[in-house]
Structure formats: structure tokens, C-alpha cells
């Protein structure tokens, strides 16, 4: 197990290297450069060249790349072209809001998706099942930005229960923090609820008629216990995979949600930096997201061993 974990952690390095090469290339091959943006529309050519020199943008792209990679290995992600703040501290500043949204929407997802799926499987012979299928499909396919706007109009403007936008750090009060997070997190959770509950229901229905379930029933175990102990437990493995992918996917979803709800998180930071061609920040953020992705996948793999004792890592 430990050996496996270490092996997996080491394998992160080549992944990161590939990611960084791709990001660096895409970012630097995109037309536009920060010197023009900083100096504005009536800048002179000399001023632009001077600033490019100052920012090190006049060097060959290969030199810029190796400079950057070497610094990354030293733990230095560089500085923002605009604010001259270290990229790492910018990311750390912005990670709070994003993680908050992700956390609350994950709670929403699990608290709603799992009970709903179990209930639907329990009542599988009724009209509930087709109804559930339509609802989960709707949830998974509803466009986030549209749903967000609708919720804001309904529960923010018409019936003002929730704030229409903004973010308050947890340090300034847990309740206001939560109050501002409910709408964005719920929107983000909708897709995930649709996906995960559907996944869990399918897995459970598959297990419902397996031999081991029949045996359990034949032993006289109550249906509820059969569902929870035998059916649910067996359906958890594929569901966990989906949950893992989902958490990582939430990071992408926050880009839209943060814009609509003006939450100053990683997603907004990324979009802003792209518009401003703030190269070090874009590279830093993408690298950071890649690390999170890889780590979550690793955690999911390790979790399999806990959920299913038959799985061994040798």
C-alpha cells in the first residue's frame, strides 16, 4: 500500500511536466501580450519593447520555458506581471472561496443523491423510477449558467432570500459565509446530483438480483438491510469513481459559477489572467488544478481498497 502510494506520487512528476509543456506552449503561442495591455491603446512601439524587455518577454520561448520550469522545481511559480505578487500567494488567496463552493456543493450532492437513489431502488416497482430517470437526466443536462440566473431571479431578486452575488470569508462569520454559498453551490451540485444518483441507482439495480442478494433474502434478512448492506455496498465502487471525477470536475464548473456570483476564486483568477495574458499566473493556476486532479484520483484509488477488501495494491 505504502509502496503503491509512493509509486503513484512519483508518477505525478512526468504528468506535471507534460501538463506544464502543453500549458506553456498554448499560453505563449496565443497572440496578444501583456505589454500592450498594460500600456493601453495609445502606447508607443518603444514603450512596448521596453516593457517586454523588462518582463523578459523578448527572450526566446525555449529560454523562457526552461527558466520557468527550473524555478517551478525550486518551488517558485514566478510573479504576476500585473501586481508583482508571487503566483503561489495569489493562488492561496483565491483558493478559499473555490474550496468553499466545492465543499458545500459536495455536501449538497452527497446528502441529496445517495438517499434519493436508495429510496428509488427501494420503491423500484413503482412509477417513481421513470420519474427519477427524467429528473436525473434534467439535473445532469441543465445548463449551469441558465439555472444560476433563474435561481438568482427567483430566490435573489423576486423573493430575496439569498444574496444575488458576492462572497464572505468564513472568518467573518460562518452563517453569512454559508448564506452566500447556498445558491452557487446548489447550482453546481445539480449536475452532480443527477449524475451520481443515476450512477448509484444503476449500480444498485444491477446488484439487486445477484445471487448473493437472493441468498441474503433467502436467509430472511429484512429488505432494508439487504439494500444497505449488500446492494448499496456493492454499488459504491463505480459510484466512488464518479464522485472522484466529479470533485475534479467541480473545479471546472466553478469557473462559470464564480463569474455569475462574483466569487473571487480560482476560476475567476484563471479567466482574468487569460484575458490579461498574465502568463505566470495562468501557468501556475493550471498546474495547481492539475495537481489537485491527480491527487484526487490517487485518493479515489486508495479508497477502493477500503471499500472493497478484495482489492489489493501490490
Amino acid at each position: 500500500m505504502l509502496q503503491y502510494t509512493i509509486r503513484r506520487l512519483i508518477s505525478i512528476i512526468p504528468v506535471m511536466l507534460v501538463v506544464s509543456i502543453i500549458v506553456f506552449m498554448i499560453v505563449h503561442l496565443t497572440p496578444g501580450n501583456p505589454a500592450y495591455l498594460i500600456l493601453g491603446e495609445d502606447s508607443s512601439q518603444e514603450a512596448v519593447q521596453q516593457l517586454e524587455e523588462q518582463l523578459g518577454l523578448n527572450q526566446p520561448i525555449v529560454v523562457q520555458f526552461f527558466d520557468w520550469v527550473i524555478n517551478v522545481f525550486k518551488g517558485d511559480l514566478g510573479e504576476s506581471v500585473y501586481s508583482s505578487e508571487p503566483v503561489l500567494s495569489i493562488i492561496l488567496d483565491r483558493i478559499g472561496p473555490t474550496f468553499s463552493v466545492m465543499l458545500i456543493s459536495m455536501i449538497f450532492t452527497l446528502v441529496i443523491a445517495i438517499p434519493v437513489a436508495i429510496f428509488v431502488v427501494w420503491k423500484r416497482q413503482t412509477a417513481l423510477d421513470p420519474l427519477f430517470i427524467s429528473a436525473s437526466l434534467l439535473g445532469a443536462s441543465i445548463p449551469e449558467f441558465w439555472f444560476a440566473m433563474l435561481l438568482v431571479l427567483g430566490l435573489g431578486v423576486s423573493i430575496p432570500i439569498f444574496p444575488v452575488a458576492g462572497y464572505i470569508p468564513m472568518a467573518e462569520g460562518v452563517l453569512p459565509w454559508l448564506h452566500h454559498l447556498i445558491l452557487p453551490s446548489f447550482v453546481l451540485a445539480t449536475v452532480e446530483i443527477g449524475l451520481i444518483s443515476r450512477m448509484l441507482r444503476d449500480g444498485m439495480l444491477e446488484a439487486v438480483n445477484q445471487d448473493y442478494t437472493k441468498t441474503a433474502r433467502a436467509k430472511g434478512i429484512k429488505e432494508s438491510a439487504v439494500l444497505m448492506k449488500h446492494v448499496f455496498a456493492n454499488a459504491l465502487i463505480p459510484t466512488t469513481t464518479v464522485i472522484g471525477v466529479t470533485i475534479a470536475g467541480l473545479l471546472g464548473g466553478t469557473v462559470i459559477i464564480e463569474t455569475i456570483f462574483t466569487i473571487p476564486g480560482i476560476g475567476q483568477l484563471l479567466i482574468d489572467s487569460i484575458h490579461r495574458r498574465d502568463y505566470p499566473v495562468i501557468q501556475g493556476v493550471v498546474l495547481f488544478i492539475a495537481v489537485i486532479y491527480v491527487v484526487i484520483n490517487l485518493l479515489v484509488d486508495l479508497l477502493y481498497g477500503l471499500l472493497d477488501p478484495r482489492i489489493r495494491y501490490d
Binding site: E41, D42, M149, A165, T262, P264, H275
Partner: protein, 533 residues
């Protein structure tokens, strides 16, 4: 794409909703109507402003960017400043005099003007600020060419000796762009050519810098020891400034729909730069007041360094083929948001505005355009119109003009680009034949970026005549002479056609109905503003 669709959906939804609620107040007055403040000012509280883009810095001297200016002019004050009529008035200065030979400027300072750090403004601070302005400000660098020496006469007076007559010097010093703001000498020297860091944001304004949460908000608080001037009626950036609010909170809100919802639910009090398309939504809501003011104009600039537009005949054909009225109507929709005026400055800028010389502006004659094109060497090569697709306005102008130009025989290709890409592509004449872009209000002919010779922003305009006028401007001795030069400038632009003006644009802001604003002049300033009960 997502944003547009969502805006559309929201607009439809909101309109339906409002229609259902019974649309009482359809007779709402035009967007140009900015109501006079009502009642007695209320002190205290926080004004929350939804600002659409985050400034890169709050150093008003280092950049001419609008987001910087809109926030920084609450914190900093220039030595001289423009009043409501765009006249140069003293601000930190008590008074100024110009010698008879027009080369010696004597400026006296007001007593005991406080900086936010507790110190008071001294002659050394002014000279250090002036030195920094001469090196880092694009306006200051212009003036620097004429400045021979700056000397402190006593602890209240400085003398600036120019090497030759340069009458734009006063308006340069008062320009609200890359401004000659007064900061403590040690900060000016420490910062040098670098933009001020947040710790260095020490000015003399009615509000002081408190906190900048990147990506989220910029907070200013009332400066209790503010040293106010006494003139109550100057307006603009000088005269008496009273801070009624305890705090100004500029929140970065990029989506205008969020800003509108925020105003409706009292989350924000004021929001800047709402797209004109949303005017209907704003106007029909009784809780939102629209605020509008002229903010520059839209232009079409041909690339004059290469064929076909190096030929004045083809530029003439371009000008005559364009029906500006049709373009403006299709682009801005509501006639409150544009006006036709061929002048280089806004009508409100009384000392810079001349109507004369703009007679050709609205000429429209497709037949003659066809003839001119036939006479020229242009043979139907495809021409590129480049514009930024971040702005709905310039996209629409490009689309309508493509149609109009093709009718007279041009072949047109549209090149929509994202702003950062656009700025880069702009620098090379090979990338474009025409650009469509807007220019915000300028304060001196020197600042007209679309006419600065041999630059990409002017489309490589190269005119003896224009350069001569700029030189004349520098030495013009009185307002009358200056007006003559301005008329001559208009004439030159409409004869040489370095760019073609489409229409004056109006910027739309919105505010909650309780918020009372004194005036908007170029952009909103929140001293003198308060929030009613």
C-alpha cells in the same frame, strides 16, 4: 456566447416579469436626464459600487487607464485640476501665474494640506511628484520636453521655467489622465518608475486607501483630516469636496446582469458601464435610476501606410459610402445613447469644442463613392476590418459598415478579435486595413491617440498639416486663437480623413434610487454624494 445567451434569457424573463406586474411608468424620461439631488445630505454609511473591471494599479500618475482613474481620483489630488467647465483651476496649488513671455510659471501652494499619513504637503513633495510625473506619465513626458528648470522659491512657491512657449503646459498639468497628483517626496523617490504599491497609496484626497482584496474589492475610507478647498461651485476635480460616506467599497462585478440584480436588492448602490442593450430593463424598474454622460466616440481608422487607403480618393470613397446615421441607429438603438457631432472634443468641453470644420461629417453619397473607387487603383482586393469582439458596439458597427461598403464595390472581410489579441495585431499594418474602436473623452489635442502621427493607433497618419497645427497649439496665446486652431484641426481631419468618426457615445451607469449624486462629469466621483433614507 454563454454570456450573451444568458443575458438575452434574463432580459426576456425580466421583461415578461415586469410586464406581468403592470408596467406603470412607461413615460420615463430620457437617459440623459440626471436628476438633481433632493433633500439634505445624509452623513455616514458605506457606498457599495459595482465596478466592471479591476484596475492594474491605483497609481493615477503611471497609467491613463479608466479603471485606475475612476477609483484613484478619490485618493489623490493634482496640483492643478479641471473644473466642471474643463477650465484649469488650482487644486493643491493656491494660485498660479504665467509670466508675460509665457515661459515662467509661478505656483503657490495652499497652507497645511494634509496627506493621509499625517504629514503636510511641502514644496519638496510637489517637486518630487513633478519629477516623477515628467518621467513616468505619458502626458508629463510631453511637458518634460519644454521644462528647463523647476526651483523652489520659498517654502510655499515654486517656479517652472520653460525653454520655449508651450501653452498646453497648464492643461497637461491638470490632465485627469496620467495625472500630476501630489504624493509625499519620499514615496515619489522610492517608487520611481514603478507603479505605487498599495502601501504607497498616500494622497491628499477626501478618501484614503484602506484595503485591496485582489479580484474582489477595493475599499476607501473617509479621510477625517481632509483639507478642503472652499469654492462650492467649481465641480470637476477641484473646489470643495465633501465626503459624506464613511466608506467607499468598489466591488469588482464583471457581469452587468449581476450588477443590475445587485442594485435591485440593495447589494450595490451604484454600478458603472451597463451595456446599452440593458437600458430597457433598467428603465422599466422603478428602483433603479439610470445615470448617463458622454464618454468619447466611436471611430473607423483606415491604415494609411499601405494601398488602398494611402490614396485619399479611396478614403474619400470610404467616407462617402458610410451612412453614419444608419450605423449609429443599428448599433446603439436608443437615440439617447448617441449623438452626431463631427468635432474632436465633446460639446461640454467649452474651451476645446469647435463645431467649425465639421461640415463634411455626415456626407453620404454612395454614387460618388462608386465613382471615386473606379477612378482609384483599388481593384476589389479583400480588405480587413479588425475589431474587438469584447464589445458589442464595435462588432455591430463593423457588420453594418461591411454591408454599406460592399454596396459601393469594396470587398470586406471582418476580423473579430479578443482585446489582448487585437492590441497586438494592431501594431502591424499587415494585419488590418481598417479598425473600429472607441476613444474616451480626451482633454487636449496632444492626447488624441487616433491622430498621433506615425503610430498604429492613428493608422500611420503622416501629415505636415496636422503636425503644424499641434505646434501652433503649443504656442497659441489666447482662447480665441485656440478655437481657430481647433476649427482648423476639425477641417484637417475631415479633409485628410485619417479616421472617420461615427458618433458620440453615451455611457450608462445605474444607481439605487436613494443614492444622490452631485454631478457625473466624465465619470462619477463620490464626494458630494450621499444616500437618502
Amino acid at each position: 456566447m454563454n454570456k450573451r445567451l444568458s443575458r438575452l434569457l434574463i432580459s426576456i424573463f425580466t421583461i415578461l416579469f415586469l410586464a406581468a406586474c403592470g408596467n406603470q411608468d412607461q413615460s420615463a424620461d430620457g437617459a440623459g436626464d440626471n436628476k438633481e439631488p433632493a433633500g439634505d445630505p445624509v452623513e455616514g454609511g458605506t457606498l457599495t459600487v459595482a465596478y466592471p473591471s479591476e484596475p492594474d494599479t491605483l497609481d493615477w500618475m503611471a497609467t491613463g487607464a479608466t479603471p485606475t482613474r475612476d477609483i484613484a481620483w478619490h485618493i489623490f489630488e493634482p496640483l492643478l485640476a479641471l473644473d466642471n467647465d474643463y477650465q484649469v483651476q488650482p487644486m493643491i496649488a493656491e494660485d498660479f501665474t504665467v509670466s508675460d513671455d509665457e515661459t515662467l510659471y509661478t505656483i503657490t501652494l495652499r497652507d497645511d494640506v494634509n496627506f493621509h499619513d499625517g504629514s503636510t504637503v511641502t514644496v519638496e513633495d510637489v517637486i518630487a511628484s513633478l519629477d516623477r510625473w515628467r518621467t513616468i506619465s505619458s502626458v508629463g513626458r510631453e511637458s518634460d520636453r519644454f521644462i528647463k528648470s523647476v526651483t523652489a522659491i520659498d517654502d510655499k512657491t515654486i517656479e517652472i521655467q520653460l525653454s520655449e512657449v508651450y501653452n498646453a503646459f497648464l492643461s497637461d498639468m491638470a490632465a485627469p489622465k496620467n495625472a500630476l497628483m501630489i504624493i509625499p517626496a519620499e514615496i515619489a523617490e522610492e517608487a520611481g518608475e514603478q507603479p505605487l504599491t498599495p502601501e504607497q497609496l498616500i494622497g491628499t484626497g477626501p478618501y484614503q486607501f484602506d484595503n485591496w482584496d485582489r479580484g474582489s474589492e477595493i475599499v476607501l475610507t473617509k479621510f477625517e483630516d481632509y483639507t478642503a478647498r472652499e469654492e462650492a461651485d467649481l465641480g470637476g476635480l477641484t473646489g470643495e469636496k465633501v465626503a459624506y460616506f464613511d466608506q467607499l467599497d468598489f466591488q469588482i462585478v464583471k457581469d452587468p446582469q449581476v450588477a443590475i440584480n445587485g442594485i435591485k436588492t440593495d447589494l450595490y448602490d451604484y454600478a458603472l458601464s451597463i451595456p446599452n442593450d440593458l437600458y430597457e430593463v433598467v428603465e422599466t424598474d422603478p428602483t433603479i435610476d439610470p445615470v448617463s454622460y458622454i464618454n468619447g466616440y466611436s471611430t473607423i481608422t483606415p491604415d494609411k501606410s499601405e494601398p488602398p487607403f494611402d490614396d485619399i480618393k479611396v478614403r474619400e470613397a470610404l467616407h462617402l459610402a458610410l451612412d453614419k446615421e444608419a450605423i449609429a441607429e443599428a448599433t446603439y438603438g436608443n437615440s439617447d445613447f448617441y449623438s452626431f457631432d463631427g468635432a474632436l472634443f465633446d460639446p461640454e468641453q467649452t474651451l476645446l469644442y469647435s463645431e467649425e470644420g465639421t461640415e463634411n461629417y455626415l456626407n453620404h453619397d454612395p454614387e460618388q463613392a462608386k465613382e471615386l473607387l473606379e477612378e482609384s487603383d483599388y481593384n476589389g482586393e479583400s480588405l480587413k476590418i479588425m475589431h474587438s469582439n469584447d464589445s458589442e458596439t464595435y462588432k455591430r458597427i463593423s457588420q453594418v459598415m461591411k454591408q454599406q461598403l460592399e454596396e459601393v464595390g469594396f470587398t470586406i472581410e471582418l476580423v473579430p478579435l479578443e482585446w489582448a489579441t487585437y492590441l497586438e495585431q494592431w501594431s502591424d499594418p499587415a494585419n488590418w486595413d481598417m479598425v473600429v474602436v472607441g476613444w474616451s473623452t480626451r482633454f487636449s489635442p496632444n492626447e488624441l491617440g487616433m491622430l498621433v502621427n506615425d503610430t498604429n493607433s492613428s493608422g500611420w497618419y503622416d501629415s505636415e498639416r496636422w503636425r503644424g497645427l499641434i505646434d501652433d497649439w503649443a504656442v497659441a496665446s489666447d482662447d480665441e486663437e485656440r478655437l481657430d486652431i481647433l476649427s482648423e484641426m476639425n477641417q484637417t481631419v475631415w479633409e485628410e480623413l485619417p479616421f472617420i468618426k461615427v458618433a458620440n457615445e453615451t455611457r450608462l451607469d445605474i444607481k439605487g434610487e436613494q443614492v444622490q449624486l452631485k454631478e457625473t462629469w466624465v465619470g462619477p466621483r463620490f464626494w458630494g454624494a450621499w444616500k437618502g433614507e
